[in-house]
């Protein structure tokens, strides 16, 4: 029986030579992709509109499509957050993923059951907050950055009533200082309670995972959820800002 066993080892070795097995696959893949790209480039021309004209602002003015998710967040947040702080947080947050996710399972193979939370958070961020907002920005945002259904005419004179109020106002605060204090309490309270609740629920993990990891993890998560909450507050309850201060508004 030695002979067949030896033959099997030769046919299915654990390690294969890169040349030819991988290189030929890369080459094949490259040929197919190049054919597709060439056909695409022959059939569809890149756009070229009229010459740049600083005195003629198009309506709507859209950023390149891959940034339309961020541009859409501008409806709900001021530019300092949507355009600067949010992108920085996304980049830093992504870089931290390997250091925050200490689950040793699911390293090098597809699995959902062994790392449900990680997959949910990443998929939600990528598919909903990034891709879905891009699709909405490309196809549904018309003049004045208003929402238009695909069958609707892009009416540049569409009037959308702006009845938004700030959260403290909705709660009956009329005084500027008290409104500001209330808004600050809501935001800080949200992060404080969220963080505290996480540490209480996961208190057994603190020893293994470490305080810093858990703190960063929950706060990045709370920021992501906070963006969703703000969107819901605006769309569902016409809330403009939660926290108004002399320096910045959230």
């Amino acid at each position: 029986m030695a002979a067949p066993a030896k033959k099997k080892v030769e046919v299915v070795p654990e390690k294969l030579h890169v040349w030819p097995y991988l290189v030929r696959l890369e080459f094949l893949c490259a040929i197919i992709v190049m054919v597709l790209l060439t056909v695409w480039s022959i059939t569809i021309d890149a756009p070229l509109e009229e010459a740049a004209n600083p005195s003629k602002t198009p309506n709507p003015s859209k950023a390149p499509w891959y940034f339309l998710g961020l541009q859409d967040i501008l409806v709900y947040f001021d530019p300092w957050f949507a355009g600067v702080v949010a992108p920085v947080l996304i980049i830093v947050g992504l870089m931290l993923i390997p250091y925050l996710d200490v689950n040793p399972k699911g390293n090098g193979y597809y699995t959902y059951t062994e790392r449900k939370a990680a997959i949910w958070v990443y998929s939600f961020g990528f598919l909903v907050l990034w891709i879905a907002l891009i699709i909405m920005g490309v196809f549904l945002r018309g003049p004045g950055w208003n929402l238009f259904m695909p069958w609707e005419y892009w009416d540049p004179h569409k009037v959308v009533a702006l009845t938004n109020v700030d959260l403290p106002y909705a709660f009956g605060f009329r005084d500027y200082v008290w409104s500001s204090l209330f808004g600050g309490a809501v935001i800080i309270g949200y992060f404080a309670i969220g963080t505290a609740a996480y540490f209480v629920f996961e208190r057994k993990a603190i020893k293994n995972v470490g305080f810093m990891r858990m703190f960063l993890k929950i706060n990045l998560f709370l920021i992501m959820v906070g963006i969703v909450i703000k969107i819901v507050l605006r769309l569902g309850f016409n809330i403009k800002y939660v926290w108004v201060t002399p320096w910045f508004n959230i």
Partner: protein
């Protein structure tokens, strides 16, 4: 009879041609010549030794390991997305060089150079289309690559560092695309970049409309955005700045990082796998 040239025998030559011996004679004298042996460092016969040398003695291919686990070949595992992303980058480099022959990043010329490229330069339109569509594809494939790496948990030890390099790469891919977006110098370009760079006004401390700007004293002519644009609006200085960033600085940095990325895949023990 040293030194005396031998007179070729016609019948013998004819025989060599008929039997095919002449081919092996020629190929022997070519492959044993000094030019050949100095250029190619190993034979081509399909031996294990040559399979190794094929990778190890080639500067481009040696970014690969010599041997890999068989699971690393599964398209279902990698989707080939990293490789396709790199291919798209190479396409933009090649077509981009062709475009640079015809394009001048000057307010008065840029738009008309685009027109010239499209209507007068042989294959100009095709080069432009390939450059643009490859760039857009690269943005999509790099996102898909990232998704695949996340779903297979390939950022886990020992590959954390390569994931971090990857995040730099996705950022640079977007910046490459964004800086290129301005170069056609048409309405689409100017206003997309205006919308994009307007964000920099809101930079905390450093943008003139950002939080705490009043404590720093930045103005619309001197803040984060004006550094980016070389002025307070998207004008010719911005065009030149974006051109230099797009054609020189970002490709060099991104290219260097890609080499580090590939090298680290090798050093981290090849593609991750369920072992």
């Amino acid at each position: 009879m040293a030194g005396k040239p031998q007179i070729p025998n016609l019948a013998e030559i004819w025989n060599d041609i008929k039997s095919g011996k002449i081919i092996s004679d020629i190929s022997k004298s070519v492959t044993e010549s000094q030019v050949w042996t100095s250029s190619f460092r190993h034979g081509y016969a399909d031996t294990p030794r040559n399979r190794v040398l094929q990778i190890a003695s080639n500067v481009w291919l040696h970014l690969h390991p010599v041997k890999i686990h068989r699971h690393a070949l599964r398209i279902k595992f990698t989707w080939c997305m990293g490789g396709i992303t790199f291919l798209m980058f190479l396409v933009t480099v090649v077509t981009g060089v062709v475009l640079m022959f015809y394009y001048r990043p000057v307010g008065e010329y840029a738009y008309f150079d685009m027109k010239y490229l499209q209507y007068d330069v042989p294959f100009g339109m095709l080069m432009r289309n390939m450059h643009r569509w490859a760039a857009h594809s690269m943005v999509i494939t790099v996102w898909l690559h990232m998704l695949r790496v996340f779903l297979t948990g390939s950022y886990k030890p020992p590959r954390e560092f390569n994931w971090v390099i990857g995040v730099f790469l996705v950022t640079f891919t977007l910046l490459l695309s964004f800086t290129g977006y301005l170069l056609p110098w048409d309405q689409l370009a100017m206003w997309a970049v205006t919308v994009g760079t307007n964000m920099a006004r809101g930079t905390p401390f450093l943008g003139h409309e950002g939080p705490f700007a009043e404590f720093v004293g930045v103005t619309s002519r001197y803040d984060a955005r004006s550094v980016l644009l070389g002025g307070s609006l998207v004008g010719p200085p911005a065009l030149l700045r974006f051109y230099v960033l797009h054609c020189i600085l970002i490709p060099l940095v991104a290219g260097a990082l890609m080499i580090v990325h590939f090298w680290r895949i090798r050093k981290d023990g090849g593609i991750s796998g369920p072992l």
